[in-house]
Point group: C2
Amino acid sequence: MDTRSMAIQAKKASILMQGVSTELKNSALEKIAEALLAKKDAIFEANRQDLERSAAENLAAPLLKRLKFDEKKLNEVVDGIHSLIGLDDPVGKTLLARELDDGMKLCRVSCPIGVIGIIFESRPDALVQISTLCLKSGNAVLLKGGREAALTNRILVQVIEEASMEAGMPDHWINLLESREEVNEMLALDEYVDLIIPRGSNQFVRYIMDNSRIPVLGHADGICHVYIDRDVDADRAVDIVVDSKTQYVAVCNALETLLIHKDSAEKVLPSLKEALEAKSVEIRGCERTREIIPCKAATEDDWKTEYLDLILSIKVVDSLDEAIDHINTYGSGHTDAIISKDEGNISRFLEYVDSANVFANCSTRFSDGFRYGFGAEVGISTNKIHARGPVGLDGLVTYKYKLIGDGHIVADYASGKRRFTHRDL
Amino acid sequence: MDTRSMAIQAKKASILMQGVSTELKNSALEKIAEALLAKKDAIFEANRQDLERSAAENLAAPLLKRLKFDEKKLNEVVDGIHSLIGLDDPVGKTLLARELDDGMKLCRVSCPIGVIGIIFESRPDALVQISTLCLKSGNAVLLKGGREAALTNRILVQVIEEASMEAGMPDHWINLLESREEVNEMLALDEYVDLIIPRGSNQFVRYIMDNSRIPVLGHADGICHVYIDRDVDADRAVDIVVDSKTQYVAVCNALETLLIHKDSAEKVLPSLKEALEAKSVEIRGCERTREIIPCKAATEDDWKTEYLDLILSIKVVDSLDEAIDHINTYGSGHTDAIISKDEGNISRFLEYVDSANVFANCSTRFSDGFRYGFGAEVGISTNKIHARGPVGLDGLVTYKYKLIGDGHIVADYASGKRRFTHRDL
């Protein structure tokens, strides 16, 4: 089937999904969880073939690890489905109710977005997580996973589709794209696809934005900062910086650049260097940093780089405002933290740093849907439009205005015969 | 000054505007209202020159009328500013507050979007309305109005800027672009401009979408429908259709296609034809319509056309579901209404018609920010992302996550030493 026909049938399914009840969605999720467990041998076998082929093609070890879908991963996704069942349905919430006039009532009600195109990396567990989030939020989905996981993805979609249809979900709500050409075709289908969520490199996200009219939800870079203010507890500052940098180095909410007030530099930098070197972190410092601790020299490029690696750039600043300005200039609007005892400085930082997640006295690694208690996330958005920060179920719905009248016409208001009451209900 | 420098200074202003208080914003609005009244002679004189030049260039009469900025228009915009002062500040609202653990609190707080580029038609009153909405929502703005209104726009921006700076607003929060080339330059400045709101033709909106990575908020077409169900009061149906079609014909929420259940056609169409002809409306009907009332034949193209004129296409359908399907296929997701006595059919229509505004038993012309009681609107969005339907102040803000901890690090949760409490506050 060609991509256009697939998108058209997804659109049809998406209309039917507008009216699917919470009960039906939860029962479909339950059946999916059961089916994944019941068919695990076939799933593991498909994954074994993917792993074997990818190993033969010399796929790097960390990618092979991400590709693996075993008993542990299966149990994790099944647990995820059960917690998803427990979450509130984001659809059908009345967000505003207002009487416009006698007998005429306006409601703003949350509803699914429609058809969502999601392009994700090689982890097969991401396929299950993403498609079940779409189901719970009532959206049809076009999925494109990594080529390495082709067989695993195919059987996972088949199991999910069969189990959910058995529960009564509309045909074709879930669809799998298998090639780059199909992704390119999808980018032109703005008539049928309402939103694209690309999970991948900065370059890839920009490619999508440049080649489609469809709105894109995603994040490009994660150039995250910690700023150490003038008056701090050195041990606490070191702990937070080390956690932000090293707790998991290859993720978007890991620290990349440390800014430190000149009055704290001598107190904190020596012990920080020691702690970072114990974790094999390479330091690249500005000139003033290098006057205090020996390290490589940072260049202008370092302030713009998402290392995703055991490297930290450090800059000494003269003031809070210089730190804020540096972050707003070089940052990516993802996650930035201040370490300070000064309430005024903290609130100034949280106010003026223009990022999705602004933190005080804790690690940047907390910016995450699970840690925020959203249950699950499709990704972290550095968009300012629609959804910002960790995007859970709430980011997968929109709303519509329902207005119920009793023969009301506008001419009566234009002529002054009737007047609006505009009374919130 | 070149467009890039203008965007950079707008971005700087937008950061300062994140922290501007409600009091300051309201006092700036008050000063703007006063200054517009105080400088009305100079404004009217600039407008007179625009009108004179445009008349000499043979601008069409309806456009000249829109261009005119006189005492009446001035009083309307000043009234608009006063009602804007009375509206709630959309910035700084706590949308979610949650304890993640002892001493660690997460808040989702509304904040301005940043820099908004707005391209609008020749009405100078739109400039005042749009820029004051941006001020109240804390956004810096790049404005581009119609070329015909060049002198009027220039003096209005000057008056607004001076008055607001006197009140304490940051420099350069409002900026005027004066040429198409500058608009094209703006489209490439996704680093500084966060959102573009184009008000104009379908073709124009698509041009913007195809030539920029910046998110676009707007609507393309307004192909609005009324569906007359099988069991209706004929007089009421005629009143609603006539109002939807003729109350103001050149606007996006005016009716373009009437769908009517086959059981109502003979009862309603003859008197509807009479009422529409009294308003000089041309009818284009499907074959079954033409068996009941003589009229021109509708073609496939008619179902896809936004006439913005005294023309109505009519189609007889066999069922509610055929009507819903027609609307979801040919409509533009703007405003669609059902006329029915059947509660079940009404709720089915409101559920499955995938449009921003879905109405029962009232005119399509009600879809409007003022009529909804939003106070003012920047436009009506048929986007499903971010803001849908009439967009008022709420559509001009986003949110950020503020997390305040007390030395918390992620390693403690990964090791199991600490657990999240996730308690809503």
